[in-house]
Symmetry: none
Subunit: 200 residues, 4 copies
Amino acid sequence: MDLREKIIEAAEQVIQMKGLARSTTKEIAKKAGCSEGSLYNNFENKEDIFLHVLRGQLRNLMGVLTTLVDRKGIGTVRKNLEEVVNAALKDFYHSIPLMASIFSEPGLLIGYREGFIRSNEGPHRANETVEAYLHEEQILGRIQENINPRAAADMMLGSCFQYAFQMRFLGKEVTEEEKSRFINRVLDTLFQGLTSYKDN
Amino acid sequence: MDLREKIIEAAEQVIQMKGLARSTTKEIAKKAGCSEGSLYNNFENKEDIFLHVLRGQLRNLMGVLTTLVDRKGIGTVRKNLEEVVNAALKDFYHSIPLMASIFSEPGLLIGYREGFIRSNEGPHRANETVEAYLHEEQILGRIQENINPRAAADMMLGSCFQYAFQMRFLGKEVTEEEKSRFINRVLDTLFQGLTSYKDN
Amino acid sequence: MDLREKIIEAAEQVIQMKGLARSTTKEIAKKAGCSEGSLYNNFENKEDIFLHVLRGQLRNLMGVLTTLVDRKGIGTVRKNLEEVVNAALKDFYHSIPLMASIFSEPGLLIGYREGFIRSNEGPHRANETVEAYLHEEQILGRIQENINPRAAADMMLGSCFQYAFQMRFLGKEVTEEEKSRFINRVLDTLFQGLTSYKDN
Amino acid sequence: MDLREKIIEAAEQVIQMKGLARSTTKEIAKKAGCSEGSLYNNFENKEDIFLHVLRGQLRNLMGVLTTLVDRKGIGTVRKNLEEVVNAALKDFYHSIPLMASIFSEPGLLIGYREGFIRSNEGPHRANETVEAYLHEEQILGRIQENINPRAAADMMLGSCFQYAFQMRFLGKEVTEEEKSRFINRVLDTLFQGLTSYKDN
DNA sequence: AATGAATGAGAGTTCATTCAT
DNA sequence: TATGAATGAACTCTCATTCAT
C-alpha cells in the first residue's frame, strides 16, 4: 500500500476516534507513520485528505447496489432487499460519524458536493438504485403495481439511516441479533402495509 | 427575552450560517449584542452554549408528538400521521446541520447524551411515540393487526430524516410541493404495502 | 504610548536588525513586550504591521519638505537646499533597508502602493516638492531660468538616495564629516554646472 | 548552456516574477528543467544560487564603463555620458528588484559584499569609473575645471538610480520617450548648473 | 453584571535540504 | 550525476478563556 492510501486510512481512523474537529495533521501523520510534511506531498491540504476519506465511504453498499438491478427476477425480492438493507445498515453505521461531521465544515460540504456532482455520484444515488430495482420487479409482476417504488426505497433506506444515526447518537453498538430483528420487522411491514380492514 | 436566551439564539444562527467548526465566541457575542465576557457569565464555556442550542432542536416535532397519543381514534389515522410527518420533515430539515455536526465533537456528543439520559428524552423518543400511537390505533382496530408499529414508525420518520439529510447534503431547499409529494407517496406506500399477488 | 505604536516600533527595530525575511511575529511580539496574539488584536496580519512601519519612513524628510516651498525667497537657496539634502541623506540612510526590502515581497509592494495612491502621497512626491520649490525660486530670479527644476531635484535627491543605498550596501556608517563633504560637493557642482568653456 | 547557467537564469526569472521571498527551490528547479536535487549538485545552497544571480547584474552598464575612460577626448562628452546614462537607466531598472531585495536577507547581503570585496568590484565602482572619466576630460579641458567629477558622477548615476527605483516602486514601465526626456533634462541641467545671475 | 484587551497553546502549512535509489 | 520523496523545524495565525477595570 502506498503512502497516499496509508494517509487516507490513518485519517479515517483518527476521525473515527477523535471526531473531525479534533483530528489534527500531527496525529494523522503519526498514525500513517510519516511526517506532517509528507501529508502535503500527497494532498493539497487537510481538507483534501478528508474529502478522500469521505469518497471512500459507503463502498460496501454501493458495491451491492451496482449488482442489484441485474438481479431482478432472480431469487426472491425479499432476499434481494435483505441483502441491500444489511449492507446499508452496516455502512451507514460505520460512516455516520464521518458523513454527519461534514455539516460542521461548510467548506468540506461544498468540496464533497463538487466531487460527486462531477462524477454524477453521491450517497443519494443509493435510493435511486433501489427505486429502479423495485420498478423492474413491478414490471416483472413480482411486487404490487400500485406502490411507489421511490417511497418504498426511501422508507427502507431511510429507516436504516436513521437507525444507524440514532445508535451512534446513543453510543450504542448494534448486535447481530438486534440488527436482524430490525431488518425483519422493517421488511415485514414493508411487504404488508398498514392498510386497515375498512377505512383509516 | 433575557440575555441567556439571546445568546442561545445567536449561537444557533451562527452555527447555521458558518457551521459548528467556524462558530467563534466572538461572532456569537456580536450577534447576541454582548461582549465575549458575558458569554462566560451566562454559560460555563462554548460547549455549554452549544448544548443549550441542541436541546432546543426538534421543538416543533416534539410538541406535535406529545398530543399524538391522545388523538388515537380521532380523525383519520392518515391525517394524524400526516401532521407528524409534516412536522418531522420541517424540524429535521432545520436541525440536520446542528444535529449532524455534533459528531465532529465527541465531547459535545457525550455532553448531549448525558443531558437527555438524565431527563429520559432525546430525538429517538420520537419514534417510540409514533410507535405507541400506532399500537393504540391497532387496538382500536383502525390499522392492521399484523404490522409492526415500531417498524412503521421507523420507516415513516426514517424516510423523513434521510430525505432532510440528503436535501441538506445536496444544498437543496425543499419546496412545499416537493414536500407534499414526498409525504403523500410515503404514506400511500406505507398504507399499501409491497405485498405481491402471489409469492415474493 | 499605546500597544499599537509599540508594535510598529518593535517591528521596525526587528527589521533593521534581522532583515525583513528574518523578522518573525514571535520576535516582534517579544520586542514589543506582548504576546503574538496581541499583534493580531491590533493588526490584520504581519504584512499589515510592515505596511504601517513603511508608512512611518521618511517622516523627517517629509517634514522638512512641507515647509520648503514657504521658504522661497527666504535665506539663501543654497542654505534651503542644504537642509533638504541633510534630511534626505539621513532619512534615506535610515530607511533604505526597509524600503528596499519591499521588493522581496510583491504583496507588500502592492499594499504599500495602494496606501499612498489613496492618499496621493509616497516617496516620489519628495522630488516633486523640491521641483516646485526650485521653480518658485526661478520665478523670483534667484536661480537660473534655463535649468530644469525637476532635473535639479532629481539629481540632488537621487545622488543622496544612491549614496545612502551604497553605504548600506557596503555596510558602512556615514560620519558627519563624510556626509558634509558629500553634500557640499554635490551642491557646489549643482550650482556650477559642467559647462565647458567652449563646446563639449 | 550548461545546467549551472540554466539554474542561475531560472532563478533570476523566478525572483523577477515572484520576488525573492517567494522564490522557492522547487520553482527554480522546474523552470531550469531539472530536479531540486540538481540544484544542490551545482550550488552549495539556495543563497549560493542567489549570489550568482546577483553577480550577473549590471553587466550591460559595467561593459559600457570599461570602455568609457578609453573614450576620453573622443566624440563629445555629452554623447559619451549619454551612452552611460542610457545603459545605467536600463540596467538599474532591470536590476532594482533583485539588488533591493538583498536587504531583506542580511546573510545574502554579507555574502554578496564578500564576493565583490575579494574582486575589488561592486556596483559602487560605477560611480568611480565615471568620476575617473570626467577627471580625464577635465585634464583635456573639455569640461570645467572647478566642478567636482565625483559629484557630477554621483548626480548623474544617482538620479538614474532613484528614477529606476521609483518607477519600480510605482509599478510603472518606462517608455523610450520618457526615458530620453529624463536623460536629456538631467544632462542639460548638469551641463548648465544652477548658478544664479548674482548671488544665491 | 458587563467588558474586551491580553493571552498562549496549538493548529495548518511551507520549504530548504538530504539521501537512498 | 540526477533524482524527488521524505523530512521537520519554523512559520503565521486562530480563538476560547481570563481578569482587571
